[in-house]
Symmetry: D2
């Protein structure tokens, strides 16, 4: 940690900083500069109470040197983490995976049709929401438990794994019974009690990045789960909020190489929610693979015009087949083969 | 709702839009333009499944005309809502109120000292966190139930009301026993189950705006509470996330006149979290009153250098006294007298 | 154009809107709704003085239906525009092109080395700045005219075309003498006098998107050039400013399919400036091709540690060769073959 | 400057950093930490070529300690700068000033009416655009030279000073003849040739902050002018671009106390452009004074419905009188008396 003093800081101000440093077992080193005194603090700065130094008289700035997350950091574990779903299905490492299915579970025929369509293309992870976080209290909120049972049954039939969203901490046991991967939505990325709880349950968890979360906050959300002992964490970038209004969210693919540098956890991209229109989803899905992510999660609906939620961004089965065929070539070009299991 | 067709939309595309409109009890009106056909849909568009029209072939754009929130809207209730806390304390209408206290409840002496300091200046609403949403799992997480009991005791002693944050839906009963106003933090603004639950409990609720929530999303969060029957909702702007890095968050005071135009609910500003340094908090607090908000919530600590959380942004008692004296003049200048009850 | 009246708008307010509409040769059509009156205005709304209707009493909102740009719009010209540079070199349509070279022209040996390195990989468009827009007045500002002569000489020797930036409107003739494509930097995207002037000169122009320009503003900047008669305009996305701080700018690849839908002009992506570190540039360059852009512009330096500007983001020749080889496969996967001319 | 090495940096990497430091006359000090080596560089880091260190092998991060601007910095000049316009008119220091007038000069009667209205309230600085930066090439571009002559004549008649915008560097002499303060618009904040040129002319200059400029970039724009010898620079915050869509721009009043801490230059706020609707302008103008700025610049039009530009946000004379009366009280409350000269 580097403490930059104000130009007019006194000797007493500097001594106070050094005293505080020792209080936290940090060794202070004075570095008088031409214009300002700098005090470097040696040791594990993560133990320091945030803001303690910034609050001291004569202090201009405090620059942290270490990252606040530890177990999620590439510094702690050098090799890529791979989340094992069983039955030979893995997420992470030197391969790319596709998760697909409808946005929302509406009816069994609707779900089964979409599941068949994606299974046919070698997809083995079925997505589908039973609990839906809707901006408006007047919108369709999902089928709940009934939906969970439906997706489990269809997935078993087709030998697929299930990923579905958990919203309410009180429903965690219920969800664990039916899902293979628990999804934490962007709106709950900083619902810390929920994160701790899924950290305790042991199931693989995919955390979606909050709409305006920094990468540090994103990795600290993962850290809440990992620090409870659950290392099966998958990160998912799904778009951030910017002034850009022609797309719903700005999918920042640039974070993929950066996250791969910062953390050992796998990174999945969701192009459907960001782009908002199916015409745009395929192009962005291909880019998400070309940039080197560990895979994508996309919405597929056999009759998008009838969808109860997010119809405009759902791919039709034909579009999905086309996507998979191109995706395979892209994955090959970046040396991360696409997983297709028929 | 206005449906703008693509330039090359066919007659069939237009008919399909009209058919879909009638399905939702909307009356379609064709408006052929020089370059594009427009179909205006007359009726209550809030019943429409989002995206249904956008998903149809030949549709270029869909422009909503009505706001999605209803009960929170100024259209529904013309007069300002005033939240009555009892004992002659009210938030909203033609007056400005100050809530103050420490960021976090640390110890009873610390809490009592801060409470005394703000009570002395005529503040009757005491803030203080027992459960703290911390970005890092390794940071101090608050005293919990013990803290709630402490703040209730100190507040009763000084004839003050208590505002404190609820994070975990499972703690709602506990919190209702000790608090007068339940605070929903920015990170939980879209935790819909939590919102519905506090909507059922009847207590006054202050909802903080999410870091990147639009005003529509903000008002829909309020709508989740109001639609459960709890009309005692207070809105709180606490800063949004922008590229600006010299402040922690960009406090957008410009939303105050706009929100006052859109909704009848009272609006409180939190300048402490956004500004991050106490030297800046007073200036921004005064601006928050000058712009016509219904009040402010500020952090006060008698010994900020020792604070376990947010020390750098906490005002000292001397700074707080100075703020209150200036605030009174600003409030008078905008014809919304400052509430000070000794 | 759709004019939404306030809930309490009077008959007179509506009549005034209709009168104003007729003043601009628009035909007003009343559409009384359940909650609000809507007046649709039929005709070419681009002639309307902005804000005229918004300023009228009783008006709540004005929703434009047509885009403000005309000649750059896909509505006006359906087929892709292709910019012809001569000697069989073209930008746009169903192929992808690479422009490469050093950020800044420093010395002739430095320039020649980089030019040779990219020429060897089949690149025929050489980039290099003679005038540099530097944030600080104390930074290296470029070699100016001397640099222009240098890059022209090297390019001629290697049978390459030159793209270089114009900053000062007074230097336009000078630059036109030495460049094949004039680059307008992001900071000058709304320097309207400069845009009009390059619109008159006839040379191909590549306009970089401003750091916070909307797509409409971006296309209107192009429109300034096109409306002067110069249709050889290339758009370049180079990253927008968001709260994201781990990358310098957020490269929004999602705008590529959207721009391709809105305009017929070719779209180039600059991954170097956004990513800031060479380790990240290759991944993002491949994504930029996978998403379907018409090409990329990247910085290459034979000795980046010695670069006077933007060294950290410049690719080494080895990295560039690797990029080109992968790029070729990506381009094939999206059916837009990569142009490599040896 | 603090250089943070990667966890796996070698001895050679560290030595290379130290060698490079000495090359720039900086003294390197090694600070071995528990997890990473840190090398602190003592001396004037402003001479360092940006990115030189970031480009070296084994370097993880480079943290600058000093600000890049020098002459605009509060470190260089402790006392507030005051720009003297002559005739007893001053901007800066412990007072607040109002500049007002129409957005655009349309006709002499229109200009004179607005000028009279604001002069009557004690305003002595008249604003009005002769050259207008319009997003669309098809919009009204201003009266040009004729407009300059008009505003000079009206201002002289009423003993007022003139502030008006310079866009085209070739028009600088013309503008200097007619204006007392040259305004550099937000879109030209990084038009460096223009900045240098107005730096040479000596006239007071008001620089508007770019829509997405950081405070450092803003102050470096001022530095371009000051470093040419012109110290009469006024800063103007006019709103930044964020995801917020209900206002045109997000006016970040929080930068006022921060800028006052960083620089000695006066800071003016423009609430008109950000708010977009006159109903909101007054509230925000008062907040802009309460936060401690050195004044505001507002648009006034006697017949806003007929305005050729920005009518919706122009105050009527009645609204302006009301604003001035309230402003006077706000200014008194923050101990920065409002300048009104009848």
């Amino acid at each position: 940690m580097i403490v930059v003093m104000k130009r007019d800081a006194t000797r007493e101000n500097v001594e106070r900083v050094k005293e505080e440093a020792r209080h936290f077992d940090l060794e202070p080193i004075e570095m008088p500069g031409d214009e300002r005194m700098i005090v470097a603090l040696k040791g594990d700065e993560r133990k320091v109470v945030t803001g303690r130094f910034k609050s001291l008289a004569g202090v201009s700035d405090v620059l942290p040197v270490l990252k606040k997350y530890k177990m999620s950091s590439r510094d702690t574990k050098w090799e890529d983490s791979v989340v094992d779903l069983g039955d030979g299905l893995r997420i992470g490492g030197k391969q790319q995976v596709v998760m697909a299915g409808p946005c929302t579970i509406e009816t069994e025929p609707q779900l089964r049709a979409a599941a068949n369509a994606v299974r046919k293309e070698g997809v083995r992870i079925l997505r589908g929401g039973a609990y839906k976080p809707r901006t408006s209290p007047y919108a369709f909120q999902g089928l709940g438990l009934e939906g969970l049972k439906m997706i489990r049954a269809v997935a078993d039939e087709l030998q697929m794994k299930v990923i579905t969203e958990l919203m309410d901490i009180r429903k965690i046991d219920e969800l664990c019974r039916y899902a293979d991967i628990i999804q934490i939505g962007a709106r709950n990325m900083q619902n810390y009690d929920l994160l701790s709880e899924v950290g305790k349950c042991g199931k693989p968890v995919m955390v979606k990045r909050g709409l305006s979360a920094t990468l540090e906050e994103f990795l600290l959300a993962a850290e809440y789960i990992v620090s409870e002992g659950n290392t099966n964490v998958i990160l998912c970038e799904r778009g951030i909020r910017t002034f850009e209004s022609e797309v719903r969210f700005t999918l920042n693919l640039g974070v993929v190489p950066i996250l791969k540098n910062l953390t050992h956890l796998p990174i999945i991209i969701d192009p459907s929610h960001a782009m908002g229109r199916r015409e745009y989803v395929t192009d962005m899905a291909l880019a998400a693979l070309a940039v080197g992510s560990h895979g994508i999660i996309v919405e597929v609906h056999c009759n998008p015009e009838e969808a109860l939620c997010d119809g405009p961004q759902s791919l039709t089965p034909e579009m999905f087949t086309n996507l998979m065929n191109r995706a395979e070539k892209i994955s090959a070009a970046v040396d991360m083969p696409l997983v297709r299991k028929y």
